[in-house]
Chain length 498, copies 2
């Protein structure tokens, strides 16, 4: 191997990582604590820095040297690292700097505008920002190596390599076909879950105290995982030893913070358990989004919503909220798993959740398959689909089309990975439950055994293996959505005595 090329690449990577860490830190700062009046200045400068990062990363001389290094006699891991990096670089290498800058500025400004728009439940004022973002994405895609491919397929592949509309259409058809009838059966079922005990105020300080206890149970290490609050929970990966998650507390909704935190910690755990040797390389950050989501959904649903998980934790919850004293575990498990069509994706139950995703997927497809978009009709279309699939209608756009930050960040093609990840999670869980006595582990306060299994089988690989490879290695099978569908059918038919 040519040492000079290798050293060049190391320096290149350090600089890339420095920009990335700076931008992560600035974004996290903005999302959590930054005073409002400073946003416009910092948005401008974040765009400048993103442009610098882009110029650095896409420098043709660097790309050439990285290509040369990739052709040297190097070990397989480095080969994989370089190939993931080069894929990304080749995707962007023809994008002119001004097109990239416009993209960055458009998303930064849309972020702030979205935040105001949702506060004011005002979709109309958000339209010009959304339009600017979509145009910026479309313009950027004109410089993509596969520019002849449908724009939306490029975006789908970007978030989960190998995916496209055909595959998602097939998966989503199965989901719609099997789950929409079940959702409607549940609406009409005799069995009703009485949620009245949760219709009270839960002191936020007490929620925080309980969350600390739950974090201890899950072995959250605060020396590598910082937890903050934002309206929309998210996870931000600073490094293999520094992951930030956010959650949100609602006085009127006890379960929201709990499952948001467990969900985000699923992402965090993935980031923290990647092989240390991959620090700062594409092997630690080029993970498919569906793969990542499989880990958050795994923790949230398969672990966090199981009876065994709550057996050692329900007493702690009750100790913090004496008004729940009368609650027995079976009733609590019903409350945790209640299924009811609702308006807000992040608060949706496990069964109706994929329908929220499908609605967004179908709207995005339209946005990118058509030359022009009728922005003034988009919120109406949104509402119609909610009516059609879930039988509910938003009373305002704040709980309708404005609810997610994704579009303001140009994350088109991201939503479908949420449902795909849920399906991966079910397939992984099926295997894990054959190999580990999950229930006894959870009951006996041995959460570290779950974390270790996930690390050894999934997390430590980072992006050094594809989702397909990991799925096959762990489950000895290709992706099979029936694990997901059957899991949901069994669980909810039992729960609702159907």
């Amino acid at each position: 191997m040519n040492q000079e090329l290798y050293d060049y690449y190391q320096a290149y990577k350090q600089k890339t990582n420095a920009y990335a860490l700076a931008l992560s830190t600035m974004s996290f700062d903005q999302a959590t604590i930054a005073p409002k009046n400073g946003t416009s200045y910092s948005n401008q400068l974040m765009a400048v820095l993103s442009t610098e990062a882009f110029i650095h990363a896409s420098n043709p001389e660097s790309i050439k040297k990285i290509e040369q290094l990739a052709n040297e006699d190097i070990d397989d891991l480095l080969k994989k690292e370089l190939s993931l990096l080069l894929k990304e670089l080749h995707d962007n290498k023809d994008v002119p700097t001004d097109v990239f800058s416009e993209f960055t500025l458009a998303t930064n400004e849309a972020g702030t505008a979205w935040s105001d728009a949702i506060d004011n439940q005002d979709y109309i004022t958000f339209i010009p920002y959304l339009e600017r973002v979509i145009n910026a994405v479309k313009k950027q895609l004109k410089y993509h190596p596969n520019k002849k491919e449908c724009a939306y397929n490029i975006l789908l592949d970007r978030f989960e390599p190998g995916m496209n509309m055909d595959k998602y259409d097939a998966f989503f058809e199965q989901v719609k076909e099997s789950l929409i009838p079940l959702i409607h059966q549940i609406i009409d079922a005799d069995k009703k879950i009485d949620e009245s005990i949760l219709n009270q105020s839960f002191d936020i300080k007490s929620q925080e105290v309980f969350m600390n206890e739950l974090c201890e149970y899950m072995r959250v290490n605060r020396d590598e995982c910082y937890i903050s609050t934002t309206q929309h929970p998210f996870t931000s990966f600073f490094s293999g030893n520094d992951v930030r998650i956010t959650t949100h507390y609602y006085e009127k909704n006890l379960l929201s913070a709990i499952f948001s935190t467990i969900h985000e910690y699923g992402h965090a755990l993935f980031g923290l358990q990647i092989d240390d040797a991959f620090e700062g390389t594409s092997l630690s950050n080029a993970i498919g989004f569906a793969m990542h989501e499989s880990q958050s959904r795994f923790l949230e649903n398969h672990i966090g919503k199981s009876k065994a998980f709550w057996e050692p934790n329900l007493a702690k919850l009750k100790a913090n909220f004496p008004s729940l004293e009368s609650l027995d575990i079976d009733t609590f498990m019903e409350l945790v798993n209640v299924s009811k069509p609702s308006l807000v994706r992040t608060e949706a139950d496990e069964l109706t959740y994929p329908l929220h995703v499908i609605i967004r997927y179908e709207l995005e497809k339209e946005m990118f398959e058509n030359e022009t978009i009728d922005y003034l009709q988009l919120n109406e279309k949104w509402n119609q689909k909610y009516k059609e699939y879930l039988g509910v209608t938003p009373s305002h756009d704040g709980e309708g089309i404005l609810q997610d930050m994704h579009w303001s960040s140009a994350y088109f093609g991201y939503f479908p990975t949420y449902a795909l990840g849920s399906a991966y999670a079910a397939q992984f869980y099926h295997t894990m439950s054959q190999r580990l006595d999950v229930d006894s582990i959870l009951k006996n306060n041995e959460f570290e055994k779950i974390a270790t299994w996930l690390k050894d089988n999934i997390h430590h690989h980072g992006a050094s293996k594809t989702t397909e490879e990991i799925l096959f290695e762990v489950t000895h099978e290709e992706f099979n959505p029936m694990y997901y569908i059957t899991y949901l059918q069994d669980k909810f038919k039992t729960l609702y005595k159907l």
Copy 2:
């Protein structure tokens, strides 16, 4: 004016500002919330980014163009802006990149090491880091345009332009001569202030509630000023509309958080009240540190420790701490202004404070005037000086030589500005009190009038005028330390009935 040069300069400045904002954000993040295990990775990358910023700023072609622009027919403000920038650039322009990188890395690592060292009260393990920082500073100074000047004079001038050892020696001699005898008179005075009422626990949540009330009184606008907590309070300037301050709460020390917050808010107010037109230019950030400190000391001591300030606020304090119910305002003013030699600078009273500064100044002089430093003796020297000037001795290095973060950050020459700033504050206050009825303003809850006076007379200028110019314009006099000395003598002789 050559438009091309001007545009070049604007783009140059934006990039400089982007790096600066990224680094401020990352430092603030590290100081406040970053999980411990991520520090080493982020230190490395911050060093990379600082180096990039340095390479960008010191690019000879850019400097040449800025020099050309400075020689064009441009308005006075732009001339001033460029001259301040060029001074800084010329200071650094011969420093090789590797010398700069080593400096950055040394300070980043020393920051983390210092934080561990103070936790463990362990000066010995900190020595190699301190040595590395001092050597890095000395090495850098070898490339300074005035390299024939004493190293320490260069550093003093860097923190407060125009200052040098001769001037500080003269000022500090006056301080020592007038104040050391007074400090000893107070130690021996018959009048003793009974502080026992403060020797109790003060609930931290209640302290926070009171602090919010105090912030309202001071018109703190949270949309431009974020307040967090750190062991060592500081202010960080993100932009003219985004300033961050930190404070610290101690259960056993009610007054500490209060006066730390007021002090830091004095800095914040300066940053927030600079003319908006100076945003992102050297006119908003090249302010002398003594000038800046004059504003924090002004708020902390001349305003925050005055009886008129507490007349509307003491009742709120008592409402949060019923155990203080019996306290009358005159007793409280004695408690707030009690003078007693102590070990920790940031907790020192107004009268003994400059002696803490002088001790550091004398040690720094030695460090930079001598080729070699006996690091193993440095903590002993520190302790001896405390004994000599203040009659107290640290019981461990955590409350001795390790107490300040300044040396780990290479802020040599910074400390003396604290005392100089206090003296400026006294001179400013003398003038303000002749022009405004400060007492009635404070009693009548009209704090905005104080803020406005400071804005109109001092803050809005930013760095567009020198400290000398501002002092003369406002007070019609050059710097005169006797305002400070007389103020302290009058105040403390009255308090202690001497």
